[in-house]
């Protein structure tokens, strides 16, 4: 057990929809697949969706080249219609958690979604933070926030420039 604190990534967003609908879009499989794909070429399918505190869901994203990416989501806490806490992991088709995608990437990252509504507009606060990171994980997490850190940033700049052509 480590006691290292890292800066969470915090994002906020306002949706022109009631809180209940936003909550349902995050917690019902039939909604989730409608918006959780990176682009129209990617096909999403939930093979299980036990979306409740202590439950989990397993879904796959099929890339244009036919490769599948499986994601396991474990729900820690669900408070209709204000709070959703989950941890998402890449997994295999059995739902077995796979190691992090790059060396020292945090093994567990928790997402906390807080919703509040004002005049029909839902304000969402999205907090993303590693759970009990090792010193190396904390470093990788922090580095990923920094502009131009490591080899990734450069690869991705090149890639972005290429795709924009």
């Amino acid at each position: 057990m480590t006691d290292i604190s890292v800066e969470p990534a915090v994002m906020t967003r306002d949706f022109n929809a009631p809180m209940q609908l936003v909550y349902e879009a995050w917690t019902q499989a039939e909604h989730l697949c409608q918006w959780q794909v990176p682009n129209a070429e990617v096909v999403c399918e939930y093979v299980s969706a036990d979306i409740k505190a202590g439950g989990s869901s397993l879904h796959k994203m099929t890339m244009p080249n036919g490769h599948d990416m499986w994601l396991l989501t474990r729900y820690q806490k669900l408070d209709p219609f204000t709070t959703i806490v989950f941890r998402q992991y890449r997994s295999n088709e059995e739902g077995d958690i796979l190691p992090p995608p790059m060396p020292n990437w945090p093994k567990e990252i928790e997402a906390i979604i807080q919703l509040s509504e004002n005049n029909g507009v839902t304000h969402m606060k999205f907090i993303w933070q590693p759970v009990n990171p090792t010193p190396e994980e904390a470093e990788a997490w922090t580095a990923s926030h920094a502009q131009g850190a490591g080899g990734w940033a450069r690869s991705f700049e090149l890639l972005a420039a290429h795709l924009a052509r």
């Binding site: 967003r13 949706f15 022109n16 918006w35 244009p64 490769h67 999205f126 990734w152």
Partner: protein, 113 residues
């Protein structure tokens, strides 16, 4: 069911720095193995080994031109991973954009009924 040892998922494929470097070299450039050896200054077996992994993951494809095999990067396949790992804020922001559009779509449907 056991997975075959030579299938790599995309994340594993790009976790290795040398493979990321190969991807960088190949972005926007088609090259054969000789050119890759010259550019990277690695020996040919090393280049071939890493190319094999990138090919198995679908990140690099090859075509034949006479006796040559020419390699190119499948940039579109890298895009979701880019969003997922490094630019996760961008990834989530994009997700939120999609959620926003979806919520609007849902509500417009409701109005028409």
């Amino acid at each position: 069911m056991p997975k075959t040892a030579n299938t790599y998922d995309t994340f594993t494929a790009i976790a290795e720095p040398k493979r990321r470097q190969l991807i960088e070299v190949l972005i926007g450039n088609e090259m054969n193995v000789g050119e890759l050896v010259e550019t990277t200054q690695w020996n040919q077996p090393v280049v071939s080994k890493h190319l094999g992994v990138l090919k198995a993951a679908g990140l690099v494809s090859e075509r034949r031109e006479g006796r040559q095999r020419i390699y190119r990067v499948n940039a579109q396949e890298l895009q979701p991973i880019q969003l997922w790992i490094k630019q996760f804020e961008k990834y989530w922001n994009q997700q939120f954009d999609q959620l926003d559009a979806y919520l609007n779509q849902l509500q417009n449907k409701g109005d028409n009924q």
